[in-house]
Amino acid sequence: MSNKPISGPHVAATRRVDQIMRLVIIALAPATACGVLLFGWPALYLLAVTVLSAMAFEGLCLKMKGVAAMPYLRDGSAIVTGLLVAMTLPPWAPWWIGLVGSALAIVLGKHVYGGLGQNLFNPAMLARVALLISFPIEMTTWANVSPLLTGPGVIDSLAITFGGLENPDAVTGATTLGWVKTEFSQNRLLPGSLIEYSGLLAFLGWERGSLGETSSVLLLAGGIWLMRQGVIKWHIPVSLLLSIFVMSAVFHTWDSQHYMGPWVHLNSGAVMLVAFFIATDYVTSPNTPLGQVIFGAGCGLLIFVIRSWGGYPEGTGFAILLMNAVTPLIDHYIRPRIYGRYRNGKPLDISNT
């Protein structure tokens, strides 16, 4: 027995940071696996490069900080960040996109602010947006669905990831959101431009898109599982999806030639990934249930605004970063009511009861 004064509680719950990260990785696994299956070996190589370099950058930063790297590396947060960065990249993007993405996320997005728990912006989204602005060609070259077994082989794929695409036009195309945006610019309006779009295939993931973002159903399932595990709460995903749904439903009903319907919105791009895995990032989202609802609704609103009226076909990254910036403000104003007090902090008045 030690004689050091010890404060209670003398027991603790068993869920630790590394377990939380492991659960997140498990929840992301099906969608990631689906991406690898649909886009073949190049996707797997890119995934490996991104995750491994994320861990390497994490170790490097910790070393520069002068702390033991192993305990932190073992918590799995760098793997989650690397995985999320990889999932948001075009599956056949060259290796250096993954490397630069990891560097941006881990170094600029996380350690510059002080490491785990200190960052203002979601590292993966910061990396995605920075890459999109810096390397617009690489970041919008979307490979056709070319499954692992029927697509390019192990060796050919090495050339794709590490050497670059020979003839991009033959094997790539536009995403649904990008296609619609381009068609608008050609003055071709909605029902017509979505004629080849299949809601079911998009739901399952059989369409062009980012490595881990195409399969709405697997992301949704992973997210719901994560909720049931108690890792994330419902407030952010539900308010985010609901606000996109309401906005798009209203505008689609009002003018169905210029605004896509709610199902296309919810089914496309990064919405599901963002709703369950990015917006729910503990560090960069508000602390209180009400704050989280506001945050989620704000994300959804901005995603719709950027998609509908912005210059980019997809707005999730920008929406998240903007709302991340607002998070401290939300946390400042939205606080839980303290027992025996009004929301403004004054003690309850019982003189008139």
Binding site: V11, H235, V293, T353
Partner: protein
């Protein structure tokens, strides 16, 4: 999962591993061998310490007054057995510091000879004042752990027009089952105690709240109170800290006590269920509070159980009785594992506040290293008060105590729910206790500097006054001298004039 839609009467809280099944099926052991020596601290309650009235070498009987209560908020202590006063000295207290406090040491003679007990003919005909007086004289204090003198609370209740007596039988701390067993085995007596309390406070009804993990105790209490329509026994969900009186009150009545007020402000007084039993003993049997039921448990105890032990028994003896495996004990805790105190030594007496003695093994208290906060807000969800533990801790870490106070530091009840759930194992409650202590220290320093300032000002004033007085004195003396001189001159001149 759906926290926004939760019962607004029940906020936060955690469900820890209960560890109650080890002791809850076993009856209370009442044949604990009488120790040779008993150590009875004169301060076992909130308020002023009692003043010893016995001398070394004096013979005392079981139940005899050892030290009388001083002032309005205090409680007397009595001899747990008959014997001789061996000493009145400073002895380590059951406190994390184990600092010595004044303690009466009795060498028992093994005869268990009672003093003459005053038993009323019909306790339920006693005047309310009489009940309060007897409860106070029996040294009854809140046995849930707060040890506030019960008589004071009863009188307070009578003066404040109480509509409900809330009997707290939550026993939400893991491991502890002493109240559970007490209700299962002595429900009739507890109900009698509750009726006496109601009479003592002139209150119309009582509400007993029992966590739903104690169905046997609930059934026993319900059966015992069947004939008394003014006693309602209710089940509350098992969720720590349900035993926080304000949480239970909000759950059962929907009422909230204002942050700057007491339960009496909304017409409620809260007493612990074990206190009700002590009141029964005090009034119906005339026996003062000289023993209590203690849960002895933890992985380092071979025979975990509830034991009725005389106040003043050394914990080491109680642990030995329950088969302590010394090598396995990694931490000794008095009370429950959530809010209990870790004790540095086991050679401290069982006091009125002691509801549990836990000998925890290393596996129970496994403490992984502290990691950075990932702002997961589990602590916000777990806080029953509605605080932001993570924000408060980060402010305290940056030494911004005022900012932590703005966030509600002073509303923290130190229940430990936040520390319990924290995935990074941050000792949040420790931060809050530290900050509260620091604030007290700061307040004291401020008070001291104010006092010093006042003294200096007084002194300056005094000096100034003295100086002015001295000056005035000098002036007067000068004037007097001048007058004398002038008079002398005049006197000199006058004869001269005469001569002219």
């Amino acid at each position: 999962m759906f926290a926004l839609f939760e019962n607004p009467r029940l906020r936060g809280g955690i469900h820890a591993e209960e560890h109650k099944s080890e002791t809850s099926p076993l009856s209370i052991v009442t044949d604990f061998p009488l120790p040779k020596k008993l150590y009875i601290p004169v301060q076992q309650h909130v308020g002023k310490p009692a003043e010893p009235v016995v001398k070394v070498g004096e013979k005392v009987l079981k139940g005899q007054l050892l030290a009388y209560s001083q002032g309005t908020i205090s409680a007397p202590v009595h001899a747990p057995t008959s014997g001789v006063i061996a000493d009145v000295k400073d002895f380590p207290a059951p406190h994390p510091s184990a600092l010595p406090i004044r303690t009466v040491v009795i060498e028992s003679d093994g005869k268990e000879q009672w003093v003459e007990l005053i038993v009323p003919e019909d306790p339920f005909q006693l005047e309310p004042e009489e009940i309060c007086q007897r409860v106070g004289a029996a040294g009854v204090v809140g046995l849930g752990g707060a040890v506030f003198p019960s008589a004071v609370k009863l009188s307070l209740g009578r003066k404040n027009k109480i509509h409900t007596l809330l009997i707290n039988a939550g026993e939400c701390e893991p491991y502890l089952t002493c109240d559970d067993r007490l209700m299962q085995e002595r429900a009739e007596q507890i109900v009698a105690g509750i009726r006496l309390m109601l009479r003592g406070m002139d209150a119309p009804k009582a509400l007993v709240g029992i966590e739903d993990n104690k169905p046997e105790a609930f059934a026993a209490m319900q059966a015992a109170s069947l004939n008394f329509a003014n006693i309602v026994v209710a089940q509350v969900p098992t969720r720590y800290p349900m035993g926080w009186d304000r949480q239970m009150l909000r759950y059962l009545t929907g009422q909230e006590i204002p942050a700057d007020g007491r339960a009496t402000d909304i017409g409620v007084v809260v007493h612990n269920v074990a206190t009700a039993f002590a009141v029964y003993q005090a009034i119906c049997l005339g026996q003062p509070l000289i023993s209590r039921v203690v849960t002895v448990s933890g992985a380092a105890v071979a025979k975990p159980r509830n034991v009725e032990v005389p106040i003043g028994t050394l914990m080491s003896e109680v642990l030995a009785f329950c088969g302590l495996e010394k090598s396995k004990m990694a931490r000794l805790v008095m009370g429950g594992p959530m809010m209990g105190d870790a004790l540095p030594i086991a050679e401290v007496p069982v006091v009125k506040a002691c509801n549990g003695i836990l000998a925890l093994a290393a596996a129970d208290i496994d403490e992984p290293p502290v990691q950075p906060c990932i702002r997961c807000s589990s602590c916000v969800t777990a806080c029953p008060v509605g605080l932001l533990p993570l924000e408060m801790a980060s402010r305290i870490k940056a030494n911004q105590l005022d900012s932590a106070v703005d966030l509600g530091l002073k509303d923290c009840i130190s229940c430990g729910s936040c520390s319990y759930v924290c995935p990074s194992n941050i000792p949040l409650v420790h931060y809050f206790k530290f900050a509260s202590g620091e604030l007290v220290k700061r307040q004291q320093a401020e008070h001291k500097s104010e006092q010093t300032k006042r003294l200096i000002e007084d002194r300056n004033e005094r000096m100034e006054r003295a100086r002015l007085e001295a000056e005035a004195e000098a002036l007067r003396a000068q004037e007097a001298r001048a007058a004398r001189l002038a008079a002398a001159q005049q006197a000199q001149q006058a004869p001269a004039e005469e001569t002219v």
